[in-house]
């Protein structure tokens, strides 16, 4: 291996590592606020990327119908709850937002010349379709069992993951897709050609991390989420509704997932089930951070990305095995250093 290859692999590793870092941050955040281990995070990646690919092909993305279906179900649940408790003044808003948004979006998609739009507009549309699925998923799946044990929530997440992979196959088919790059721009840095897309990925990740930091530090909603993460009951006593906190974290998680998918779709071919492996690598990073520390998780993500890039050079057949066995020394170290008392559930 010479310097050129090392730099090339390093660029690869950094790009992937940036994506894993985003996913790991989302996983840590969702776990801290809702105790849900978000196995299906990777599916948001695949849905985001493949929805964008369908938009670029000029096809009405099938995910919009999933959004309509989820929104209808959730609106139906909300409306029956409102009627039962006599809060009729909420009905208009629930019907308006619950059904109006997805139907308006579907109408917009039908009218627009999808394939002819600029890439950024397509990306925004893809986000508009996929991101609302996050809070809807929280409403339909997790809100009724928000008090269940971590184990039950984890099994539910796995069930949702399985269903989403099956739906992904139905929506997008078995073929992989690659989308057009955001820019053709590239430049030489020493001996290595740096592509515009990897600059996009790293820059977008950095911007997003800073934005998340500002959100959690400076805004009322961010502080509410942090409070919920530290003490659920205490936050509730201070007037932070757990359902709101849950939905908000799922908005962020779905946004981070879908955006990651959109960012990497021009670099790697995405299949309907690719998201899972990408999400799991985010997990390895999150576990390095003990599912609690954001900076450690981000560092772990870079480590995972670099390890993956370099092991694909030395032992490409064992790339996945090497990345996933990285978790073993991490677990060993954690189990030697932490003295854990199980929380009563």
């Amino acid at each position: 291996m010479d310097l050129e290859i090392a730099l090339l692999l390093g660029q690869d590793g950094l790009t992937n590592g940036a994506i894993y870092a985003l996913l790991a941050l989302a996983l840590v955040m969702v776990f801290a606020v809702t105790r849900v281990i978000l196995i299906q995070q990777g599916e948001f990646v695949a849905y985001g990327a493949l929805t964008l690919a369908m938009l670029q092909a000029g096809v009405m993305p099938a995910t919009i119908w999933l959004l309509v279906a989820l929104a209808t179900l959730s609106a139906a649940l909300d409306i029956t709850a409102s009627l039962r408790s006599g809060k009729n003044h909420r009905l208009a808003g629930q019907i308006g937002w619950g059904l109006g948004y997805p139907l308006a979006l579907a109408g917009l998609l039908a009218l627009l010349p999808l394939a002819a739009l600029p890439v950024l507009a397509q990306a925004v549309l893809a986000l508009c379709i996929v991101v609302p699925m996050g809070p809807l998923m929280y409403r339909l799946v997790y809100q009724p069992i928000a008090d269940a044990s971590v184990l039950v929530l984890l099994i539910v997440s796995v069930a949702v993951h399985i269903a989403m992979v099956g739906l992904g196959l139905a929506f997008f088919g078995a073929e992989g897709q690659r989308t057009t790059a955001f820019s053709d721009f590239s430049f030489e840095l020493g001996p290595v050609m740096v592509t515009g897309q990897s600059v996009w990925v790293v820059a977008a990740s950095l911007v997003l991390i800073v934005a998340l930091y500002l959100f959690f530090e400076r805004t009322l909603y961010g502080k509410a989420l942090r409070a919920t993460a530290i003490n659920r009951v205490g936050a509730r006593l201070m007037g932070i509704p757990p359902a709101l906190a849950g939905k908000l974290t799922f908005v962020l998680a779905a946004f981070i997932g879908a955006l990651s998918g959109i960012l990497i779709a021009p670099i790697t071919t995405i299949y309907y089930d690719t998201g899972f492996l990408i999400g799991l690598k985010g997990f390895v990073a999150a576990i390095i951070g003990g599912l609690a520390s954001y900076p450690l998780a981000a560092l772990g993500a870079l480590l995972v990305g670099l390890l993956e890039a370099f092991s694909s050079f030395w032992a490409s057949a064992y790339k996945e095995v090497i990345v996933f066995t990285l978790i073993i020394p991490v677990l060993l170290w954690r189990s030697l250093t932490t003295r854990h008392v199980e929380e009563e559930e």
């Binding site: 039950v152 539910v156 796995v158 399985i162 992979v165 599912l291 095995v321 996933f324 954690r334 189990s335």
Partner: protein
């Protein structure tokens, strides 16, 4: 209780029906029953782990793979290294070796994750399940993705079990023994400690239960069940490839345990039966509805799991218990019995 339908009579009737099954059922249904038996054995381990112990594992399919591949390599490879050559070609020896190997792996994974909080074991088993699947697929000695063929059938006292109805008895004897031993384990002193795990660690530890040890015990037992199932699978199928040992099958095993009723030993059988039959049926009709082929049954399974966990967390077995008196009468504790001998 209705004298016509006592639990004992029901169990007896179940055994009679089971023993008669190979004589009446067609090959298709017999094969289905064989699979249900194999799956139920894995699900039984998960019942012990998840429903009783409050832990879980997504990597059980990988343990099934260890059992299947151990016996497949030992009984087909012609160039075994000298130190292991004595075990070649003898299925019963490779069963023992597979069990030992599985126990060793389970102890390692367990000692890494069981000291941490409960969700690290499932996450660790996901990583382990994926790694092992890729390893099966890439290692040339394990046949890569094409797998290994020509595994000999099991023979027992000179009787070769190479027909579906012959191995049927072996599978179900294995399964019923596993059910019986699991029930006995749960009724024992050790079992009471295991059942205390789910109520919270601090409480159990305050009562003097070594929780780390109890968790390890059930994790190893669950892994051994899976390994035995894999051994039977390899000799029934006479062929192994990595597909049935992937992570998604591991998740399916967990679905069986949860849908059947994760807290009940017989729930494993019920869950394995329901999922296997449903899968067969869905694989038949769904591609026709969707207009293309693919694993669309997972959508139904996923949604079903969410609904079961939201509405009936105990699974289907408790619902069945309301209709049929399948539960054994609780053992009576006599007030004057000696404390050391009283059953709970």
């Amino acid at each position: 209780m209705n004298a016509l339908l006592t639990p004992r009579k029901l169990q007896l009737a179940f055994l009679v029906v089971l023993a008669a099954a190979p004589w009446v059922l067609s090959t298709f249904y017999l094969t289905l029953l064989n699979y249900i038996g194999l799956y139920a054995m894995v699900a039984l381990g998960l019942v012990l782990l998840t429903g009783v112990g409050g832990l879980t594992s997504f990597g059980q399919a990988a343990f099934v793979g260890v059992g299947a591949y151990t016996t497949a390599v030992l009984s087909t490879s012609s160039e075994l290294p000298a130190w292991i050559a004595w075990a070649g070609g003898a299925p019963w020896i490779s069963l023992v070796l597979g069990l030992v190997l599985t126990a060793a792996i389970a102890v390692v994974i367990g000692s890494l994750t069981l000291k941490l909080s409960g969700h690290y074991l499932p996450l660790g088993t996901i990583a382990w399940g994926i790694s092992l699947y890729f390893l099966f697929g890439t290692m040339a000695t394990l046949g890569g993705h094409t797998g290994l063929t020509g595994i000999p059938p099991i023979s027992l006292f000179g009787w070769t079990l190479d027909e579906g109805h012959e191995i049927f008895y072996l599978i179900w004897i294995f399964l019923l023994l596993a059910v019986l031993t699991t029930k006995n384990l749960l009724d024992s002193r050790e079992g009471r400690a295991i059942r205390a795990l789910r109520g919270g660690m601090v409480m159990a530890e305050a009562m003097g239960v070594d929780t780390a040890r109890s968790r390890m015990v059930i994790f190893v037992i669950a892994a051994l069940h899976a390994c035995a199932s894999g051994w039977l699978y390899a000799h029934m199928q006479r062929f192994v490839n990595p597909t049935p040992f992937g992570l998604h099958i591991g998740i399916e095993y967990l679905f069986m345990a949860v849908i059947g009723g994760a807290g009940h030993v017989w729930g494993a059988l019920l869950g394995a039966g329901v999922i296997t039959v449903l899968k067969q049926w869905l694989q038949d009709i769904l591609p026709r509805i969707m207009g293309s082929s693919g694993n669309f049954e997972v959508i139904v399974f996923g949604v079903m799991m969410v609904l079961v966990l939201q509405r009936a967390r105990g699974g289907l077995w408790p619902l069945l218990q309301r209709v049929v008196p399948v539960r054994a009468a609780p053992r009576e504790v006599r007030a004057d019995a000696q404390i050391g001998r009283a059953h709970v």
